[in-house]
Amino acid sequence: GKFGDYGGQYVPEALMPAIQELTDAYERYVVNNEDGFMDEFRQRLADFGGRPTPLQRADRLSERYDCDVYLKREDLLHGGAHKLNNALGQVLLAKYMGKDRIIAETGAGQHGTATAMAAAHLDMPCTIYMGERDINRQRPNVFRMKLNGSDVKPVTAGRGTLKEAISETMRDWAASVETTHYVIGSIVGPHPFPVMVRDFHAVISEEMRTQVREQTGGLPDSVVACAGGGSNTMGAFAHFVDDEDVNLVAVEAGGSSLAVDEEKGVAPNSASLSTGDEGVLHGARTKLLQDSFGQIMESHSISSGLDYAGVGPELAHLVDEDRVTPVAIDDDAALEGFHRLSNTEGIIPALETAHAFGYLEEHAEELSGTVVVNVSGRGDKDLQAAIEETEARDIPNAPDMSMFSEGI
């Protein structure tokens, strides 16, 4: 459960037995494929999820950057993002463990919708906690969860966002731990979540490795993925960690600035790998955005899915070991990347994913050979945000959007 000094199990005592039970189940079913768990998981990922996702050469980007840019198309997974890999794995694991109920929290709603889908598919009752403010900002996702039969519980405490929803889900779990599994949505939280979520997403790099060999005859020179909590990142990196010649680039949300406003407790970015300090949050020791007292800062990113003050402990460790290079890409560059992929390749990426394309543009001179970018999700969910954020800036490659000034 440790990655160097990171990781661990910093949770209330009431949850420890559940964490231990989960650790045991993880080892039996996920690591050792007991009862054919991993076989069923992979079959369902194929049939229900649509795996394998393609590895596609991006012709225009390759020309622009004078190298071979390949796109790993996680945006084509059911639900529109890599999130399903993990949600499906955990809900299935809960079934194997004999749990009869699933809970999860969600901020922007991506993990919530993936969990709701997986729960419907596997016929598991599901409750999803979501801050009231987030509910109002992400109504289409709330509706999707309800359509999938999940119970969406508004959390009114505090500011009504992800942090409060996490606390509320922890509370539910602390009270229901014997019958309920808490589906954590990234490679964060106490052990075994970081390794388990990584293992469920590792199918991304497993496929990537085979596909890039088939298409280019060798391994990639770089693998690039955006990083918030880091689940798509570790999914894209996992099978390349031992290949020392493959550069692994984790692109964080640089937000509007890497500076912090300690007075207000606000970091206008989510670059915990680049700028964070070691600390303990949500059950694990990792790199965090925190003030000098250890209070967690409010993070910020144009993409709500990267907007988290922590990061997976394994990524933090790989950065300390110089195996993974963290790069911060700011909101403006991410938006430009969003528009570039949309209008030159015909793929509208999630704003999270767009950061990886901002990286290609800003670090073009460092690119060479084969560069694989993990297209972690599609941007349909971000249309309104893209309009507002594009209008607020001068983005040279954006289409004329005057007709959308009042929203879509």
């Binding site: 942090k163 407790g265 059950g283 007292f293 209070q295």
Partner: protein
Amino acid sequence: MADSGQAAETRRSDGAAANSEIAAAFDDGPAFIPYLAVGDPSYEASKAYVEALARGGADVIELGLPFSEPIAEGPTIQGAIVRALEGGMTPELFFEFVEDVDVDVPLVCMTYYNLIYQYSPPGSDERGPEQFVARAAEAGISGLVVPDLPAEEADPLRAACDEHGLDLVFIVAPTTEGERLQSMMERVSGYVYVQARLGTTGAKSDVSDQTDRSLQRLSEWNVPKAVGFGISSGEQAERIVASGADGIIVGSALVDIVADGVDSEWSTAETADKLEAKARELAEGATRGQTEPAPSDE
């Protein structure tokens, strides 16, 4: 260092408190241990409230040092923490408060591990449990409760507590069993916080019979057993003590009064009076529990 090592060894062998004040609090009948978040809703008000609890009969007081992500707390205490943080509470102010507050019962600091892990005294570059515990001891704190620090991760903090003569209280949940129970028993000191039911903190009208079973599981521990989670009335306090608890811990029921005071704009004195009255009810209930026979099912 040699001394503290010895202290730890002593504690583990005999289960006694490292801190004599906490040990003393349980000597004299069942202990009533109230909780409030420091700085809720302001430094001054909070001081008046803590002093009122002492007047009401507290034997030990748990003082919450607010952390921004209180994952073990129910909505009531989370609300207190938000108010305290908005009021500007910091670890350093917390220690000043401890030095400042006029009570003569032992004070236990309840907080989350990141604040301990990150703590650095003013003017110092060094951070961590050792720094935190040193400052806490200096301010007059007798013990610590850290809800997100399981026994497995507690050794650095345990060592610092031993060095500075502080107790480290662990929470035993209804689900804690076997090796984990053992591991905690080896590390606990002062008292053990017996969680009366699953869930997070919060006042409930029913007190689960899980309490009885928990107390039985801990019957061989040589450390006082204080039961918390959901106690809100003198009657409940009485029942819990009659079931064999050495003390009761009450947080949410008191924080509710503070919250009502904020909502209803009571004066600090008015809220303090209500807190004192509630404390008295609970303390008296606990005392009754010890003298009455345990309630039967009849």
